[in-house]
């Protein structure tokens, strides 16, 4: 099968958009001093293989994209995807050690943005972003299933704490509580535990019926459109229900 065509125009646009003073300075002033190397767990876990040095990962991705003015082959992009998604978790630990304050993770995130535009984000992340866009949560849980799970957990925890309720879409509550879709799907007990603690603390809280998933896998994929949408769903829920604060489950 022939390799897909690289959308060079899109890469060029993206590179031009990103090339503010910060990225320009970072790419130029990195002295390759290697202070970042020992901070990276990928580097440490692979017997200090230089391929995992954070500065080198940038060299092989963003720096290369700029040097080649975005005119790269599909094979080169695939190699970059392997690094940006598979050799870095964007943990930001190396940023703490850089004497110039270069934030490698921000640059890796920029690379992910470019790769995602070419359809090279790993499928799991693309699917999650698609789900979030279409259903408001990364696991495509229906509103019906969400409400059902909350009711079930309410019944379970009411036995231990009489009077406990799991409110959904209660306008005027003090606090909005949002969580990880994984809790609803795989760890429903997490909902009961949180509800018990919020009740014991006397919190006046509510779940929203839309915008309850606080995760943002689109951000990790590099999809800015869905990233903004995911965050806005939570923001909109807070505005709609007129809460004063948001508590996340992490």
């Amino acid at each position: 099968m022939a390799e897909p065509a690289v959308n060079v125009k899109l890469i060029k646009e993206r590179l031009a958009f990103l090339k503010g003073g910060r990225f320009k300075a970072w790419l130029e002033i990195c002295a390759h001093c290697a202070y970042c190397s020992d901070s990276c767990f990928f580097y440490l876990a692979h017997d200090k293989d230089p391929k995992y040095m954070p500065a080198y990962k940038v060299k092989q991705t963003l720096d290369k994209l700029y040097k080649k003015k975005g005119e790269v082959t599909w094979e080169e992009l695939e190699k970059m995807a392997d690094i940006a998604y598979g050799d870095c978790t964007a943990c930001r630990r190396c940023s703490l050690y850089c004497p110039f304050g270069i934030d490698v993770a921000v640059m890796i995130a920029a690379v992910r943005g470019i790769l995602c535009g070419q359809g090279l984000a790993p499928k799991g992340l693309q699917d999650a972003a698609k789900h979030h866009w279409e259903t408001g949560n990364q696991m495509a849980i229906t509103e019906e299933d969400f409400v059902e799970t909350c009711k079930w957990m309410e019944e379970e925890s009411e036995e231990e704490m009489p009077g406990l309720k799991i409110p959904i879409e209660k306008k005027g509550a003090e606090t909005l509580y949002v969580l990880n879709a994984r809790e609803v799907k795989f760890y429903p007990q997490d909902i009961a535990e949180a509800a018990m603690i919020l009740y014991a603390a006397g919190e006046d809280w509510t779940f929203p019926d839309l915008g309850w998933d606080m995760t943002n896998l689109a951000m990790f994929a590099g999809n800015a459109q869905v990233m903004a949408h995911s965050a806005k769903l939570v923001y909109d829920a807070a505005k709609r229900l007129e809460v004063k604060k948001i508590i996340t489950s992490e």
Binding site: L125, E160, E193
Partner: protein, 152 residues
């Protein structure tokens, strides 16, 4: 986590000292909560409130290592699993060195990664959230207790 910290600090939830966890427990600083979120001291306040033998990993706080499953690494899918386990060795070693058999972590992503690491590296650890532990160590006022306990 900020909320749980405030509940206990302000006495909205009271801890029963007799119920505190006795076994050695360590804490995983998630990148987005500690390094990027700045909540590392709040976590230690909670750990010391709930556990008698809290043992920090080294390094810790904002310098802690990523669990090895962050940045979307877990949801990327099974084709990345082997690499995720290889690079997670640093975290597995960190946990083993504490001698703790329980790891508390507020992040659901770290939670899944640590459970995978425990199986891969035979760590024999139990991974728990703050919200799982708090109801086991709190001292509830009578009106919030279940009816049968109230009678005692």
């Amino acid at each position: 986590m900020q909320a749980f910290y405030e509940y206990i600090r302000d006495g909205r939830i009271k801890i029963d000292p007799a119920k505190k966890m006795k076994e050695p427990v360590t804490y995983q600083d998630p990148c987005n909560i500690s390094r990027s979120g700045g909540l590392w001291e709040e976590a230690r306040y909670l750990m010391n409130a709930m556990c008698e033998d809290f043992r920090d990993m080294a390094p810790n706080r904002e310098y802690n290592h990523c669990c090895g499953g962050g940045g979307g690494y877990i949801p990327m899918g099974p084709q990345f699993r082997k690499r995720r386990m290889q690079s997670g060795k640093v975290k597995a070693d960190q946990i083993r060195e504490t001698g703790a058999k329980v790891v508390v972590v507020p992040c659901h992503n770290c939670f899944d990664q640590l459970r995978d690491l425990s199986a891969e590296y035979d760590l024999g650890i139990q991974v728990m959230h703050f919200k799982t532990i708090i109801p086991h160590v709190w001292d509830l006022p009578d009106h919030l207790k279940p009816p049968n306990e109230e009678a005692n």
